[in-house]
Symmetry: D2
Subunit: 211 residues, 4 copies
């Protein structure tokens, strides 16, 4: 039996849908992850371009918007096991160019930027409480990498019982095998997969109700 | 460039190694996940058989041992988004045969059994504190599924800065594509992959020091 | 300067108010905490009586309702530091009479009961995610003890950015000094203090809007 | 019966003791909390002076050392319910003088500084994982305020099953009533109370073993 058929026969892959109040989470779209010589490559540049359009739609629809950056201390005081597995992460410090959000997606005032040291945007951060404070019940996720910090953030978002929508062309990875494999897992178990265009259509339809 | 070469060139895939004080975490090896008609199939039965040997070695080495089960309330009061994506999970109630740990791995008195409703063994559970209380610095992980609750638990274990060793033949999945893809991600970024036999050799070498 | 004046001069003690969607949290009103020979005494019996009225109002207003119980494993596998400070807690096992919710407040089907081993109702439990899943933005808190599990739960509820309303006569403690001191801290920094009657009036006013 | 007698008769107030590997946590000793015109007053200046000695002993004994600061975003993007209860907190931004650690306790390179927005040093921060990474099993706590961020941090530290030692003269509060009341609660239920001098004696005795 093909992998997809097994999941179908066991009842996975249903939709959880949009709630009433979405927020937008943009994971780790920083210069270092858009540079194939550092942590980038694959479809990440494309995913950033698609996210730019989605970000505009989210701003027009007045969604709460939050970005993440990986930031480690200059003196190494917060290096842990993740830095043993991938030592190059240590270069992502507060002022390093590599840890700044890419210019195409520069955060506007009032948009929240979360610093993190672990894969999930929720782990050891204020994100869950920030979303509660904004009254969000649905998290739209873009960012990179699909097989890393996006996947980890999606699991936590769903575990907190937010409905999760992953922008299938707004998430990117340095290598396409893991990208595809993780989209499969995410779609079967944790979140709904929609294109940026489909999500924008949903947000555009929300606009009158909010304005 | 092949996926693995990309990861290698960017500095992933290093070893984090064993610490001084390992614990054993066995994720969701319950009857329902060992039944191909429910959530099982693939290499799960094999992984359970391998885990039986590892469990014996862990007991001989006096490791702290913890199991997880997925358990939802009979009245549905704790159903959330995960149950929308995979509605069959709702049948995993306290007394359901499907949510009991498989007989081959029956927990002994003093071994901890954690009930959970989300993928990660850490999310919404006492696991992190339990491991701190036991003085563990390393988590050996077996269980199922590799692409689901094992993967999620491994990310959280590493995020808490435990060193993580995943038993590559002690974790199982209903479908082999996701199994392999997730072992790749785990080995590159979150944990070291060793066979049960290799882990047992490490534990056997520890024994004299502890006893 | 009196304590209250210091807090006033530094800008503490403001109201955070009700949000749009309250939930009711009833902390540890179990037989053992209503028995002066175990963990009870003081004004706990009175607080239970007041909570019965509030619970009726919450049910009539269709609020999400959640109870907590302290439950430790029969075999002691989850005893930790809290059990060193207060060893009598070890008797609160799944089937012990002392850890059952008091008959006056028996949970109805669909009302969620959370087992916990630490002071806060949020620590190592699914409570935060359960509240997100219910769309709650405000937590009304009753239970015991004011200086223990209520205080700890209130801090976490506020830290997750839920607005918190503590029922000043629906929370109880074995000793009145700590009860009063903790109500002071809570009111100055974490939550609004209202009587059960005041909260019931608020809930009664909500009813038409929901029904 | 006096409050203390009630606690004694119910089995509270036992010691949890030191473990093998202590770390030092210094909570919110920043300029704003050492200024009676802002959040300071009471015995906070004294507690800072005592902590300076303890910090020296901790450095000599090579303990992992971590400080916390309250830091909110300049643009208010992370203000939540705590800022409704105490609006003056909003002034504690990254570069504000009030949120810098007091000169007497300036962190040395490699000592970890955690930014937080909630009372507990653990909530929404990397502290738990940082302590696991350091192999700590015991947390020595000083800082301010006793009735606020110290109390909240102590509860979480114990909930994670770290043994907790609170420096009774190294913690301070703007008002002495809440200071004393919270020391009572902490000593009865969550941590052992020792003076800085007693803790220093313990650390000095550790030194030869570590060096």
């Amino acid at each position: 039996m093909a992998d997809l058929d097994i999941y179908k026969s066991q009842g996975f892959g249903n939709l959880s849908g949009f709630g009433r109040a979405p927020a937008l989470l943009i994971v780790d779209f920083t210069n270092g992850f858009n540079d194939p010589a550092q942590f980038g490559g694959g479809n990440i540049a494309d995913a950033i371009a698609r996210t730019a359009g989605l970000l505009s739609a989210a701003r027009a629809a007045l969604l709460p918007i939050v970005f993440t950056r990986v930031v480690y201390a200059n003196d190494g005081s917060d290096h842990g096991v993740f830095c043993l597995k991938a030592p190059a992460l240590r270069g992502l410090t507060e002022s390093a160019l590599s840890s700044q959000i890419v210019p195409e997606l520069e955060p506007a005032p009032g948009e929240h930027v979360i610093r993190k040291t672990q894969p999930s945007a929720f782990f050891g951060t204020s994100l869950a409480g920030w979303l509660v404070g904004k009254g969000a019940d649905t998290i739209i996720v873009t960012g990179c990498t699909t097989s890393g910090c996006v996947r980890a953030s999606v699991i936590d978002a769903m575990s907190y019982n937010f409905r999760v929508i992953v922008a299938s062309d707004g998430v990117g990875d340095r290598a396409m095998g893991p990208h595809e494999a993780n989209l499969f897992d995410i779609g079967q178990k944790y979140a709904d997969l929609l294109t940026c265009e489909e999500i924008e259509a949903h947000l555009n339809a929300l606009q009158p109700a909010i304005a």
